[in-house]
Symmetry: C2
């Protein structure tokens, strides 16, 4: 094929399209108008004119990673609530800190999070937090893609930010399509227990009527914490199912403590799951039965969760631990194979966010969200199995270049959209102020 | 204090000595004749003359990491035996590959492993393999420190390399103190089941008589594999105890399937444990009860195991997963706190190898095995808790410089002792040849 002009060409790289097509050992990707205009073998391609060319020798091009669950501004709390019980973590540390958060904290914390994700090859993330418009501003500046939800929490004795239903709807409607279409929005009820039944009903109604997705924490905790009044003996999934809340527009984070009946309900309703292995292990909450979720036909993406419970936003690390934890849990090393993990972090993640028609694979017509991983590293040699090397041996710092919507956000590890030194300095100051005040 | 001259000075860095002294917020380390000659606050130190100065601003100096269990040359098999059952992994893939290994394969695989470890801040490792003299040569060239054991395996129908008792003793005696004293040696019986009782007896006798340590796999597998004749219904620990094999010179890797009685025996005998969380998860073997081992007073170091079952030699990753796995296993996030993990990867690892008087902390008189970690990275900001940041947020690529025995092996991420490009190319070719032939 001959393409006559392109904004960007990546040449002579290995390509993992992550669709049903196989690996292209030596290929070319062309980008025009923010979309992929060509992807294929080098031998068949001839570029006439390209504004910018990236050399792909000894690199692999693959879809950018999709982080399906985080609270980006919590980068400011990294290291502040360590090795604590879940109650100490949430009630004694995180919530009091969040009560002090100002919009400018959320902005700088989100910039730091965007910077960390870009440096680690994440091109899209799903966030749920407060002052979410500030997260949107950071996303716009950083050039990354995001699905943002303003958090709704009400049944605990603690208040901060724009967390009401009305504010969340306002945010969702105002920011949908923002940042040249890179931002999509959701409604963000905190959990089935920390929102009233009435509010959950309003959320479902608004979501269905206006076509806005939902992002919620589901079945994260093994026991009901003291700060919430348990509404019934039903599981969280059953409770939401009885309220008619569950549908295929729901992104449910964690999903650890599920009964087999719960899994059947989630599958029947088409609920999408964000699996957060690192956070679930660090907070000692348990293991999501991801093998069974996938076997039931449920779409499972991967998430890092916030940096206060991870404490990193490196999705390469999350991929590895995602696989290790399932293998251990089922005592079967053949479970969640490397390619399946890579799908969970790319196309399945995109599906979980309802963005699979736009991103998640490298195909003509999709938005150009592409990362280049440098294979010329001691930890990635030899190259017997590229899927295994990417999942089990690579880390975020092996990512060489990052492209979102056709725009280069990082080249040769240099971030183009943010001043790395400045973001680091401002975030450090802001965070130390928060912790000390 | 005034020191008049030094070979190397690291100035204005944070210092984690990892002994009972606390963090030095801004300090100086001086090295002379391969040893630490000064460590303390910048304010009190004045260097008269130094051959070489490393700038430590925004960096932390800490003891180099100690990898207590690996099979270094298995880097060549990275990605070759993925997502398989343990039997398929060992019998159908790894053993047939090992039967083809030549000394030159072990040399280049070990060089690649040394390169990867140096780039990730590992300064000392314990290895058990075949053609171990080739590992020693790689260690010598790379400038790293190691405790090496020539493997002894005999009761399975498979043979390669210099694996007999006599060869192992010859190796241990010839290479002890080699590479300017950086190499110490051990005897390497494969397991309690893959060596005869007679051989285990000879190993214990030789070890006690000649003062050579032992490195063995212990209680890794949950069930007895078909290729070995189970000698009795005793646990592996009981079996070895009954033979009088266990003593404080034994480094036992894995120790997963332990009874409470086993733990008591290990504690009583002073056996040292190498905990390999990544490999244990990836091969789905189980979880070592490290909290109980530590509570029983047992010295626990951390290991990566070989790159065929990890598939990385990054001890920062191992530290994080070590902690996460214990927290999950006991469903208690307060277990194995960050500082304790960092001790396991430094001074406790040194203790496990019998090297705690030489390395493992930054103290005057100890050998200068030091790493500098760059704190000026998006994933390491803010710096609320340096132990937590190093264990949960840092990765090997955040290591800036590596010093072993006072010699700089890596500076600003550039390895000085090995030609990175050349090692990568040779290892890639050698590995592809092995897999294809």
């Amino acid at each position: 094929m001959i393409f006559e002009e392109a904004d960007l060409v990546i040449k002579d790289c290995k390509i993992l399209p992550m669709n049903n097509a196989g690996i292209i050992p030596k290929g070319v990707i062309a980008v025009k108008g923010g979309k992929i205009s060509y992807v294929g073998d080098s031998g068949n391609a001839q570029c006439i004119r390209a504004e910018k060319v990236l050399e792909g020798h000894r690199k692999v091009a693959m879809p950018g990673l999709v982080n399906c669950h985080t609270h980006l501004a919590m980068t400011l709390f990294r290291g502040l609530a360590e090795d604590m019980t879940m109650d100490q973590w949430l009630e004694e540390t995180i919530w009091p800190l969040e009560a002090k958060l100002r919009p400018e904290d959320v902005y700088i914390g989100s910039l730091l999070g965007c910077l960390e994700m870009i440096k680690n090859g994440v091109t899209c993330f799903a966030d749920m937090y407060f002052f979410e418009s500030k997260v949107a501003e950071a996303v716009k500046k950083a050039g990354i893609r995001a699905s943002l939800a303003s958090g709704i929490i009400e049944t605990v004795d603690w208040q901060t930010g724009d967390k009401s239903f009305d504010d969340a709807v306002y945010f969702a409607q105002k920011y949908e399509g923002w940042a040249e279409g890179r931002i999509t929005t959701r409604l963000g009820p905190h959990t089935a227990y920390t929102c009233t039944e009435e509010t959950l009903g309003k959320i479902r109604e608004k979501a269905s009527q206006a076509g806005i997705g939902i992002h919620i924490h589901l079945s994260e905790l093994g026991t009901t914490p003291p700060y919430i009044a348990r509404k019934s003996n039903l599981s969280e999934v059953e409770l939401l199912e009885n309220q008619g809340f569950l549908d295929d527009d729901v992104l449910a984070a964690h999903c650890i403590h599920l009964t087999t009946k719960d899994i059947t309900i989630l599958a029947k309703r088409g609920v999408k799951v964000a699996y957060n292995p690192v956070s679930n292990m660090k907070l000692a909450q348990g293991v999501s039965r991801v093998k069974e979720l996938i076997d039931a036909g449920i779409t499972v993406g991967l998430g890092t969760d916030g940096a206060a419970s991870n404490n990193s936003l490196d999705m390469f690390e999350t991929m590895k631990i995602a696989a290790l934890l399932q293998k251990l849990h089922y005592r079967d090393p053949t479970i969640l194979r490397a390619r399946e993990v890579l799908r969970a972090a790319t196309i399945k993640g995109a599906e979980a966010l309802g963005l699979h028609n736009k991103i998640g694979t490298l195909e003509v017509g999709k938005r150009a969200d592409i990362i280049l991983v440098d294979l010329n590293r001691p930890n990635l040699v030899p190259l017997h199995d590229i899927y295994a090397n990417l999942v089990y041996s690579a880390r975020g710092c092996d990512v060489d270049s990052v492209i979102v919507d056709g725009k280069i956000l990082m080249e040769n590890r240099e971030v183009k959209t943010l001043n790395e030194e400045e973001v680091i300095k401002k975030a450090e100051n802001q965070a130390l102020g928060l912790a000390g005040s």
